[in-house]
């Protein structure tokens, strides 16, 4: 059994809660006491239906205001897979939350109401999933029951989306007609839409191939922690612990350590008390090197002829999450892989309108929840790759040095 993380976004009316509720109910991930509590609250509020949004709206203020504030994580499993849903609200702080949910997702689920077709909201979600390079996208055309299960409606929405998607990077798109309320094509294939020959949503989620989304070619191992037991049994042990960000590491491999530039070979790879023959993403392992080099946290182990270029000039797409706008000359803390430093904003090249994809070059700042292309100069060289090549070595966060709050999420376009 493996793991699939997927991100959804939506508002109350597009049926997202109903869909998630159904997936959870049908996979028995919702328990009787949870369902009872939700039924009681729904009744107390005078609803004539069970509001499954109450399952995920966990915070007091969310229940009081009837809105979802934050990303909620939900879990369910089938015999084939375990699923983690990052469920994000559609309106409040949508960019921040969608970016958060999409950043760890293998798959994005965009919901549209068959009666309305593509909306600003569904386009915006697709744009963010594309920017965050979520490799698989599912467009679920919901409420098919309300359009008489009409194939033409589905075909039109699919065509509209495909024409919009030509401007985006979506490696794998699947469009599924469903009715979350009636259960059509959610868990089992619907008999109401014989014209649809694809899988049900759950079948697709269970079978979508995610193993090849990881980069198994370009070796990247950011050193996270140096293990030095200094005990009698392991007196000379020196291991470099970290999580493989790319490629496959094997004992005997010739490796290059950045930024020092020394080369050596991998002596062994430890996973707790076992030596392993190979390490690949996203394994957490401890690497031992043949030579005694000065390697510390923030360094990167890679291959001599396949290494990221250390750079202090970073060109990136930044999603701004700070309440005060991002402006040129601003100084911030930056965290990239296991490396931390400071950075200055050199330029805000353009602001991207996530609804129209228009690039606004006039505004030289990014307000809260805006996304734009930004040039940065860092105090320490980052050992980075373009985000399109590696989501781990291509991403960073920006931190306000006074408050310590995370104010930006960045995706590297290029580094010089």
């Amino acid at each position: 059994m493996d793991l699939l993380r997927f991100a959804t976004a939506g508002s109350v009316d597009d049926g997202k809660s109903t869909l998630i509720g159904r997936l959870l109910l049908d996979s028995k991930a919702i328990f009787e006491d949870q369902l009872e509590a939700v039924e009681q609250t729904s009744m107390a509020r005078g609803y004539d239906y069970t509001d499954l949004a109450l399952l995920t709206d966990g915070l007091r203020s969310e229940r009081e205001q009837g809105i979802t504030i934050d990303v909620a994580y939900r879990y369910f499993a089938t015999p084939r897979r375990k699923f983690i849903i990052a469920d994000t609200p559609g309106h409040v702080q949508y960019t921040r939350n969608m970016v958060t949910g999409a950043s760890t997702a293998n798959l994005g689920l965009v919901l549209v109401d068959a009666r309305q077709g593509l909306t600003e909201h569904s386009r915006r979600h697709a744009v963010i999933l594309s920017l965050l390079r979520v490799p698989h996208l599912v467009l679920a055309v919901n409420k098919m029951d309300l359009v008489g299960y009409d194939e033409a409606v589905y075909e039109q929405i699919q065509a509209d989306f495909q024409s919009f998607a030509t401007k985006l990077t979506i490696p794998d798109l699947t469009v599924i007609p469903i009715s979350a309320l009636k259960g059509d094509n959610v868990v089992t294939r619907s008999t109401n839409m014989p014209w649809y020959e694809g899988p049900s949503l759950l079948h697709h989620l269970e079978h979508v191939h995610v193993a090849s989304d990881r980069d198994l070619v370009d070796t990247r191992f950011p050193v996270q922690y140096v293990v030095r037991p200094k005990s009698d049994d392991f007196h000379d042990y020196r291991g470099y612990a970290g999580r493989v960000a790319g490629g496959v590491l094997k004992p005997g491999d010739e490796v290059l350590v950045l930024p020092s530039g020394f080369t050596t070979t991998i002596e062994a790879i430890d996973n707790f008390d076992q030596e392993v023959a190979e390490a690949f993403p996203p394994m957490s392992v401890t690497v031992r090197l043949a030579d005694d080099l000065d390697v510390s946290r923030g360094d990167m182990i890679c291959r001599p002829h396949n290494a990221p270029k250390p750079s202090q000039d970073i060109d990136a797409m930044v999603c701004w999450m700070g309440t005060a706008p991002l402006r040129p000359r601003q100084k911030l803390a930056i965290k990239h892989t296991t490396r931390a430093g400071r950075t200055m904003v050199k330029d805000v090249q353009y602001r991207l309108d996530v609804n129209t994809l228009h690039r606004d070059q006039e505004t030289k700042e990014l307000a809260l929840n805006e996304i734009g292309r930004v040039q940065l100069r860092t105090t320490v060289p980052l050992l980075c790759d373009p985000y399109s090549k590696n989501r781990t070595t291509g991403s960073f966060v920006l931190i306000d040095e006074a408050t310590g709050v995370t104010v930006g999420a960045g995706m590297i376009l290029s580094a010089d």
Binding site: M1, D2, L3, K28, F31, D33, Q34, T41, T56, D57, G58, L59, R60, S61, R63, I69, D70, A72, Y73, R74, A77, R81, K82, I84, R96, T100, S103, A211, R214, Q224, Y225, V227, P229, K230, S231, F234, Y237, A241, G242, R243, V248, D270, N271, F272, D273, A277, E278, F280, P282, S284, T286, M321, A333, K335, S395, V397, G404, V405, T406, A409
Partner: protein, 303 residues
């Protein structure tokens, strides 16, 4: 683990890798971390993951237990085995002592569980811990479903759920100011079933009360509580002996057990998989007081 040709990890291996990453990140970036150890299965799994994260070195931080004075003897015994085997320092913060010192006030109505909050915040401050690992999981409770892996606490140890830091990719922001601390939840993405599968796979030693045993119990508010010196029976409550096990481990006076004959981890997995009631809903009196009981305690600084 042996060589894998298809380069895929099982869900347990992936969860383990993620948790180990979190442990190492905290150890690298925080001055004085501590692992909050309740003796329950989740905190024992944390111990196991921390053991793996730093092996062959010892876990580079102490473990902290808040002793309610109402803890199960079997739990303390398991705690001591773990602490001895791993050779880590154990810090015990006693609620009884906190009451005696006037750190918290026992008004006779407040549960020991709630008094743990003041006791915990006091010891974190006194010892100057900057990061505290907790065994909380997001599947446990809906307030927890929205909590970050790195959960920032202010000077007063408070959690501000509406003002959480965005957590993107696996780039954790460990910045804190003087007097603040971070709660860190390495098991955020594990479910109750994942924990049991992991205990089974790793052959992890957990307190015997998780397995079916004979116990003298009585019914209160629809829960089965164990007979003990710390609980006074109310009129109409009668003690009977039944075969039970605990699904969670907490304050003896509030933690209920369930009737069960599951005596191995495999049998427990079967039982948990078939269960239709959450572990907290079934057995935790402390979560039942209001719809937002957990959120309220968490805001104040609970685990």
């Amino acid at each position: 683990m042996t060589a894998q040709t298809d380069y895929r990890l099982s869900q347990l291996d992936e969860l383990e890798a993620e948790s180990i990453h979190v442990f190492r990140e905290v150890a690298a970036e925080f001055e004085k971390p501590v692992l909050m150890f309740s003796g329950g299965k989740d905190s024992i799994c944390m111990m196991r993951l921390a053991e793996k994260a730093f092996y062959p070195a010892k876990i580079p931080f102490p473990v902290l237990q808040v002793d309610t004075g109402y803890d199960f003897a079997e739990v303390l015994e398991t705690r001591d085995h773990w602490v001895d085997r791993l050779g880590v320092r154990l810090v015990v913060a006693s609620v009884e002592k906190a009451i005696a010192d006037g750190v918290v006030v026992d008004d006779g109505k407040t549960s020991r569980n709630r008094l743990q909050i003041g006791t915990l915040l006091n010891v974190l401050e006194q010892e100057g811990f900057t990061a505290a690992f907790g065994g909380g999981r997001r599947d446990e409770e809906k307030a927890r479903a929205k909590e970050r892996i790195y959960s920032h606490r202010d000077d007063f140890g408070q959690w501000d759920p509406k003002n959480q830091r965005p957590e993107v990719w696996s780039l954790y922001n460990g910045r804190i100011r003087q007097g603040e601390h971070m709660r860190v939840f390495p098991l955020s993405n594990w479910t109750e079933l994942d924990i049991w599968h992991y205990i089974d796979r790793e052959q992890i030693e957990i307190p015997s009360i998780y397995f079916a045993h004979r116990r003298r119990v009585f019914e209160r508010d629809g829960m089965l509580l164990g007979e003990s010196d710390n609980v006074t029976l109310k009129p109409g409550e009668a003690v009977t002996e039944r075969t039970v096990r605990f699904r969670t481990v907490g304050d003896m006076t509030l933690t209920g057990c369930v009737e069960s004959t599951a005596s191995t981890t495999a049998e427990i997995i079967e039982e948990v998989a078939a269960s239709r009631i959450t572990e907290r809903g079934a057995t935790r009196g402390d979560d039942r007081f209001s719809e937002a009981a957990m959120e309220d305690r968490k805001r104040e600084g609970y685990f």
